[in-house]
């Protein structure tokens, strides 16, 4: 019987194993030595020492810079930024320094760093603790953006991210933290930049990432009851984008719906839709459709939050509209 672990427990396990495997791996962030705001790093300072799991002041700009500087000098820092909303404070380092180090130095230096951060809306965290800002980062050459959809996925993707030679923004959705999944650590680690087929189907391709993959799978289940066979692609990595997996699926189903929690404007869905429109124009039997958040900040009151956030019903409705 496989052990069932939560998303948080599985992240901890991946970090613990990477700390054990490679002495260059170091964790830093606000409160990480006492477990971090969400308990992901609980117990790791006791096990691996205060030098390798270090608390920092509330100084996102400096700690992102410190992680970057340490990375170019041979450490493999894993930095926790408590909420993706706070990454705004670290933008100079991420965008101007970390992303460009390899390029600007003509390949002399690299930044093997992971910035773990937590994103998405749930439970009334309101406008400054609920955003989905991933599309800002897929616009920056040199960065890698990873957004796991489940505990088991998070395990492999985090380990692959730690071992990569590039700066990775690793986005954990707060809605997934308590999710529990049977876990057997085996098999090769997923390659960064490879999507996976989360459910096979023939009539429509649902493309999603992070927590929205769960909604896409629910939507596929509901659609199956009315005879529509949906294939679900879990992107796993947003930058680079695995267009070959998407193309193979859309060439088979001839319909595509892209779903994410972020607002539609300038989003990941727009990027994918442009690729599909250009590269698979002849394959399409219907316009490419996007499901995402209406263009507003995330509100506080539960009724308003529910009203704004896209979910399973929106995906089902989008598919039905395509099929009608």
């Amino acid at each position: 019987m496989a052990q069932k672990l939560t998303f948080i427990e599985i992240l901890r396990r991946a970090l613990d194993e990477e700390l054990t495997r490679d002495p260059a791996v170091h964790l830093l962030g606000e409160d990480v030595a006492v477990g971090g705001a969400f308990g992901v790093t609980k117990g790791l300072a006791q096990k691996h020492g205060a030098q390798r799991v270090r608390n920092t002041p509330i100084s996102e700009a400096a700690i992102t810079g410190v992680a970057t500087g340490a990375a170019i000098c041979g450490l493999r820092p894993v930095l926790e930024i408590m909420f993706i909303d706070f990454v705004t404070l670290a933008m100079d380092c991420l965008v101007n320094q970390a992303a460009k180090y390899r390029y600007m130095s003509g390949g002399q230096l690299a930044v093997p760093m992971v910035v773990r951060t937590q994103a998405g809306a749930a439970g009334g965290a309101a406008a400054q603790h609920s955003q989905s800002l991933e599309s800002w980062f897929i616009h920056v050459p040199g960065l890698v953006v990873v957004a796991p959809s489940s505990p088991v996925e998070a395990y492999g993707l985090l380990k692959s991210s730690v071992r990569l030679g590039d700066p990775v923004l690793f986005i954990e959705h707060k809605r997934l933290y308590a999710q529990r999944e049977a876990f057997v650590p085996d098999g090769p680690l997923p390659g960064i930049g490879t999507a996976r087929i989360a459910r096979a189907g023939t009539d429509v391709t649902l493309i999603a990432y992070s927590a929205m993959v769960g909604n896409a799978l629910e939507a596929a289940e509901e659609l199956a009851r009315s005879g529509i066979s949906a294939e679900v692609i879990d992107l796993r990595t947003l930058l680079p984008l695995d267009m070959s997996t998407i193309a193979a699926s859309v060439a088979k189903t001839h319909r595509a719906v892209i779903a994410h929690e972020a607002v539609l404007n300038g989003g990941v869905g727009a990027e994918i839709a442009a690729h599909i429109g250009h590269e698979l124009f002849d394959e399409l039997d219907a316009p490419v459709t996007r499901v995402g958040c209406p263009f507003a900040p995330i509100p506080f009151a539960p009724e308003l939050e529910r009203a704004l956030l896209p979910g399973t019903a929106n995906i089902v409705a989008a598919v039905r509209e395509l099929s009608s």
């Binding site: 100084s59 810079g65 970057t68 990375a71 101007n96 960064i192 690729h275």
Partner: protein, 330 residues
């Protein structure tokens, strides 16, 4: 690395480096005016003693970070004259194969680990390198050069605080040239000296005459010895003067003629020469040092100018660790 008190030969060697930097930047200025230097080169003319006095204590294993005005720091750290010039004029043989340019000089083998064009951005990077040095435990240190203007950025304060908390082996070297870009310090801050920011965070600091190489050398030597012994970060504020404008082509209308004339007197090269003459070195020997430096610089400049330009077909190299990570796969 200069051990304890420098010999007369050590001072002569440092004079040579001062000249190399001065003449090198003179060539940058000349070629920029001729349209051969892309972008916005920033000169450190007049501030060379800070670079030379600090870097005299560093080995190749020590890390150095600078900002947009970093040619002197790179050369003082040991970067090759020709490869550095080639980078500044965008050649394939440049330090960064023409990807970085004047504001982003990197020479990893010499510990020249970064030059950032965004003021203040280099400070936490240097602290990160200091952390890595602390983890290695090999008595190496990290040095960051920045201007007084950088203290207006929040990240300066964040980094100093963290460096003290973690007791990092980092030397903060402020080149206080009295100007943040085009505005004099008095208009930027009511805090007259950057060193005043150190005490509240619990960091030792010293304000010195940055145009006197001997003063810089002695102060940096003491600070760096402490850093290697694990005594934690130190801030050295070097009062200096930018003889050049903010960037090449800056007409410097914000400065008076008297102001500029007064500082010619403070020129670090002239001051060191006067000191060496007082120690018995002949004028002709000093002139010979300048001549040699000039020959070296001109040879490097001509070598760089003759070097191949980057191949446009290589423009997508070095974005990621592997080609498979290019923005879209498939």
């Amino acid at each position: 690395m200069t051990a304890s008190a420098p010999t007369l030969d050590d001072w002569k060697e440092m004079l040579r480096t001062l000249w190399r930097i001065r003449l090198f930047e003179g060539q940058v200025q000349r070629l920029a005016a001729a349209g051969e230097v892309p972008g916005f080169p920033h000169l450190s003319t007049g501030q060379e003693a800070v670079a030379v006095g600090v870097c005299a204590h560093l080995t190749r294993k020590d890390s150095l970070f600078t900002g947009h005005r970093g040619h002197g720091h790179a050369l003082a750290k040991g970067c090759d004259l020709q490869a550095t010039f080639a980078e500044i004029i965008g050649r394939d043989s440049g330090l960064c194969r023409g990807r970085g340019g004047s504001m982003h000089l990197v020479d990893a083998d010499n510990g020249m680990l970064g030059a950032t064009g965004v003021v203040g951005g280099n400070l936490p990077l240097a602290a990160g390198a200091a952390w890595a040095a602390q983890v290695r435990g090999d008595r190496t240190i990290s040095v960051v050069f920045f201007g007084d203007g950088a203290t207006g950025a929040g990240v300066f304060h964040e980094t100093v605080n963290l460096a003290v908390l973690w007791r990092l082996p980092i030397l903060f070297v402020c080149e206080n040239n009295g100007y943040a870009e085009f505005t004099s310090r008095e208009e930027h801050s009511k805090v007259n000296h950057v060193s005043a920011f150190a005490a509240p965070y619990g960091m030792p600091a010293k304000t010195i005459d940055g145009n006197d190489l001997r003063v810089v050398h002695a102060a940096a030597g003491n600070a760096i010895a402490g850093l290697r012994d694990g005594s934690g970060p130190f801030l050295l504020e070097c009062m200096t003067y930018r003889l050049a404008g903010h960037y090449v082509g800056d007409a410097q209308q914000y400065r008076s003629k008297e102001d500029l004339a007064a500082v010619q007197e403070k020129c670090p090269i002239e001051r060191l020469k006067r000191q060496l003459i007082a120690q018995g070195v002949s004028e002709s020997e000093l002139a010979g040092i300048a001549e040699e430096a000039k020959r070296e610089v001109l040879q490097a400049v001509e070598g760089a100018r003759a070097a191949a330009r980057p191949d446009p077909s290589t423009v997508l190299e070095y974005v990621y660790s592997a080609p498979s990570l290019s923005a879209t796969t498939g």
